[in-house]
Amino acid sequence: MKKKLVSVLISAAMSVTLLAGCGSVNAPEGSAATDGAAAEEGTGSAEEAAEDASGTEAEPEAVTTVGPEDGTKMQMWSFVEAHNTFYATMLEKWNEQNPDRQIQITFTTYPYSDMHQKLIMSLQTGSGAPDLCDVEMGQVPNVYEGVDQWLYPLDEAMTPYAGDMLTSRLDAYKGADGKQYGAPFHVGATVMYWNMAELEKYGITQEDVDNVVTWDDYTALGKKYVEAVGEDGKYFTSVDTGGTDWLWLAMAEYGDDWTGGYDGEANVELDSVKKMLNMQQSWLNDKIAEVSPDGHIDLEAGYQNILDHNIVSFPKAMWYMSRFKNYMPDEKGNWYITKCPVFEEGQNCSVGIGGTGTVVTQQSSDPELAADFLCFAKMSPEGEKLIWEDLGFDICNTSLWEDDSFAHDDSNYYNTFFRNYPYDVLNNIKDQIGTIMTVKISPTINEQMCTTTLNEVLENGTAVDDALAEAQQAIELDE
C-alpha cells in the first residue's frame, strides 16, 4: 500500500514537472496550469471579438478542403466557421467562372485569439502563415505592423469593384503606408434597435420613436417608458462596461477620434466622450438604464436580457441583426430599426463598428491569384449578395443598397424579421457614417476603457473627468 502510494506520487510529480516545463519560459514552475491550454479557449477582449462573439465557446478546429486537386493549393484561416462556409461557396463560383485559374483551398477554423496569435507568430517568423486569413478589426494593428513585408496589397485586385465600395470602410483597412491590405465584410453601421412590441404595451408608438432626434428626446422617452412600466429591473436601455460602442458613436457624432489617426497622439479626454459618459451616469441615477450584465450586450447574458425584455432599446451595429437570427429568433416581428439619436441636430448619426478584414500574406504560393479570388469573394455583387443572405451583414457595395430586388427582397430572413427594411435605414444614413481609426494605440485605449475607466464611471460612480484623466495617463505610458 505504502509503496503503491509513493509510486503514484512520484509519477504524478514527474508528470507535473514535465508539464511545467512546457509552460512559459520565465514563469517558474508551478501548477501545470500555466501551459498552453489557455490558448485553446480564446475570446479576445470583449469588444474586439464583437463582430462574431459567437466564438465565446471555443469551437473545435474545423478543416475542409474545397476545389479541384489540380488547382493551386492554398490555406485559409478564419475564427468564424460561417465565414469559411461563405468562402467555400464563393470558391466554387470562382472555379466555375475561371477554368484556367483553378484554386483548391483548405479552410481551417480556429478560436479567435488562437488564430490571431498563430498568424502573428507565423508572419513574424516568416513561415507557416496561410495564403489568406481573416483578421478581426481589433487585431488589425498587430497584423498590419509588418505592412508589405508581411501582407500583399489588394489595390490592384480590387480595381474592378472599388468604385462601388463605401470608401470610409475601405479606409479602415488600409495600412500605415496607405495601401489596402484588408477586404471588409460589412459597414457595421451603428443603428438603434427598438422593441416596438414591448414599447407599444406602454403606449409608446412608432411615431414617438421616429420623433426621437436628439439624445435629450431619447432620455425623455426613456423616462416616460420607465415610469409607465414602474417595475424594478425593467430599463429603457443598458450601458456597457465591456465595450466602447457608445463612445465611438459619440465621437463620430462630433467628428472626433481618440486615436488621433496614424500620426496624431491619442487623446481620450474628448468632450464627446465626456458628454456620453455623463449622460450615461445620469441615466443610471435615474434608473433609465442599467449596466449590461457581463459588460456588454453581445454576450449570452446580453441576449437573455433582451429576451427577458429587461431593456427595450440599444444602439448596435447592423451586424447585430444576425444575433437575433441565431440567439433570439422568437423576437421576430417585435423589433424596429432607426438611426441613432445625436447630441446636436445635423450631426453624423452613425459609426462603423467591428469588422473582419481578410488579408493575403506575402508567404502565399500565388499572392496575385489569392488577392483576385479574395476581392471576387468579398467585393463583387455576387459575393456581396451572399454575404447579406448568409451572414446578414450590411454590405459595403453601395450599388446594391438601392437595388429594390436586393434591399426589399422578402425572401430574405432579415427583411422580414424586423418591422422595417434594414437597407432603408442604411440608405437614409448613407452619408452620416463616421469612422474611428484602428491604429497601433487602439488596443491599449480599448483595454484601458473596458477594464478600468468604464467600470469606474458606470459601476463605481467615479467622476468622468477624473476617470478619463487617469486613462489618458495610462495610455500615454504606452505611446
Binding site: 505504502k2 502510494l5 509513493v6 503514484v8 506520487l9 504524478a12 516545463g21 509552460g23 512559459s24 519560459v25 520565465n26 514563469a27 517558474p28 514552475e29 508551478g30 501548477s31 496550469a33 500555466t34 491550454a37 489557455a38 485553446e40 479557449e41 480564446g42 475570446t43 479576445g44 477582449s45 470583449a46 465565446t56 485569439s113 496569435q117 502573428i120 508572419l123 513574424q124 498587430n142 505592423e145 509588418g146 513585408q149 508581411w150 462596461t241 465591456g242 450584465p293 457581463d294 459588460g295 447574458a301 437573455q304 488596443p443 491599449t444 483595454e447 473596458c450 477594464t451 478600468t452 467600470n455 469606474e456 459601476e459 495610462a474 505610458l477
Partner: protein
Amino acid sequence: MKVKKFLCSEKTAPYVFALPFLISFVIFWIYPLISAIIMSFQDIGAVSTKFIGAKNYLKLLKDGVFHIAVLNSFEYMLLTCVLLIPFPLLYAVLMDSRLVKAKGVWKAVLYIPALTSVVISGTLFRLMFSEYKTGQLNILMTMLNMPTIKWLKVKWTSEIALLLLCCWRWTGVNMLYFLSGLKSIDKSLYESADIDGATTWQKFKFITIPLIKPTSIYVLTITIYAGLSMFLESFMLWSGNSSPNNIGLTIVGYLYKRGIEKNDMGYACAVGVVLMVIGLTINFIQLFFNGTLKKEED
C-alpha cells in the same frame, strides 16, 4: 571496446546517466532563460529588433497595471499558502488516523478535482459566479433573501471565487503529499509516546510536525511558485485576460497580455525576469529560514 570502457568507468558513468536531464535542462531552461534576459533589454519590432538598454525595466517602474498585477499575484500567493497548507495537512492527518471510514473514497473525492482541466472547471466557476440572477450563487442569495451580487466585478468577492477554485482543485494534491510524508513516520514513535501518556495534540506537535517538515517545505515551495505563476484560473474565470479594474490580473497574465496579445516580447520578457527574481527571492528567504540551505548536520 573503448566505448564500453568509457561508459563503464566510474568517473564517466554518472555524467552519462545525467546527460539526458542536463541536455533538456540546458535546451529548455537555461537557453530560454538567457535569451529572455537578453530580450528584456530589446525592443522587438515586427521587422527589426534593437537594444534599448534598461528602458523596459524603467517603464515597469511606472506601469500602474503591472503594479496591480504584482499585488494581485502576491495576495493570491499568500492566501493560497494560508489555505493550502494547514487544511490539507489536517485532512492528511485525519486520513491517517482511525477516525475516518472508507478512506479510499475520501481520498478519491478530494483528488478528483485535480484531474479536471482548469479550462473546464474555470468555465463552470464562471457560470456559478455569474452576476446574472440565474447564476447558482445568486440563486442562493435570492433564496436567502439577500440582494444579488456582481461576484466577478468586485475585488473581494472575485477573490473568493479564485480561492475557492484553487482550494477545490489543489487541496487533494497537497493532502496526498502530506499523506505520503505521514506514512514515512515510524509508528513506534507514536506508540512510545502513548506509553509516556502524550495527548493527541502533543503527539501531533512533537512528532508529526517535526518529522513531516521536509514534506511541508516542499509543499510550501511549490505553493509559492504556483501562487505567483497563477494565470489560467483567472483567464478562465473572466473568460479572457481582461477583468474589471484588473482585479483578476496576475503577473503571468500581464506577461501574456504584453507578449502574446500586444506582441511586445521585449517588455513581456522584462515582466518575466522580474517575476523570476521575485519567485527566487521569496523561496530563498523561505528556504533559508527553514534551514534547508544549511549544511546537513551529521
